[in-house]
Symmetry: C2
Subunit: 140 residues, 2 copies
């Protein structure tokens, strides 16, 4: 029971922490993003389908775009680098790496400790390194 109360607070905190007033719609979006056993990759479209499939009343796409963008800026979501022409997000915000299949264009996670770097360049003047990720392109 306390678990659920804490989860609810967690969601409210994430919303407030992203500069967002906790509205009905945003709470529903946040539950779908953060109340999961596993992290996952998604697009605006797939998130929208996930939400409406559950029989929830549907949320306007504009709201989903705005909320996901705010969570991303606040660091609760991470935008994935791809060569596709739509945005992919990851609920796994810990530094980690990806396999990128050039055939299927699918991304899968690589555990952080599977990759080790022994040399990394300095950031350009006036900038600092925020995070480093390795993309391994694979094919058949």
């Amino acid at each position: 029971m306390t678990k659920f109360i804490n989860q609810k607070n967690d969601i409210i905190n994430k919303l407030r922490g992203s500069g967002l007033r906790p509205t009905k719609q945003r709470i529903l979006i946040a539950k779908n993003l953060f109340e999961n056993n596993r992290t996952f990759h998604f697009t605006i479209d797939s998130l929208n389908k996930k939400i409406s499939k559950k029989g929830n009343e549907k949320i306007s796409l504009a709201t989903i775009y705005n909320t996901v963008e705010a969570f991303t800026e606040a660091g609760y979501l991470k935008e994935i680098l791809t060569s596709k022409n739509k945005s992919y997000y990851d609920t796994n915000i810990k530094s980690h790496h990806h396999f990128y299949d050039e055939g299927t264009k699918e991304l899968t996670d690589i555990n952080y400790n599977q990759v080790k770097l022994s040399k990394v360049p300095m950031a350009p003047k006036g900038k600092k390194i925020k995070n480093l990720e390795v993309v391994i392109r694979i094919q058949k």
Copy 2:
């Protein structure tokens, strides 16, 4: 003089090697991509502008899309991983790395020998590693 003849042959070869018949339009596109002193990043739009700015007769966008895609599939160009929603290409096909500025969303090359990896995972079953690239996200 032989230099120019060789360049021309090189372009014809790249086109044939991409399964493309060397037409006037494709040769012009290829010259703009491969006859440069330095490698560079581009989008379909920037390539199109580059071509028409020189006073060349303009080439249909569809042809530019098709030709760039064929060169990419043949391995003469590389698609860049970004979080933007349009396609970026690199004429530098050698394995190399990028800084990705989250503020300006700009990509800059990192020389290959500036990064060293001491541990890399195996490719998933049935796949092989084609290439590996490190993206270092930077910010102010």
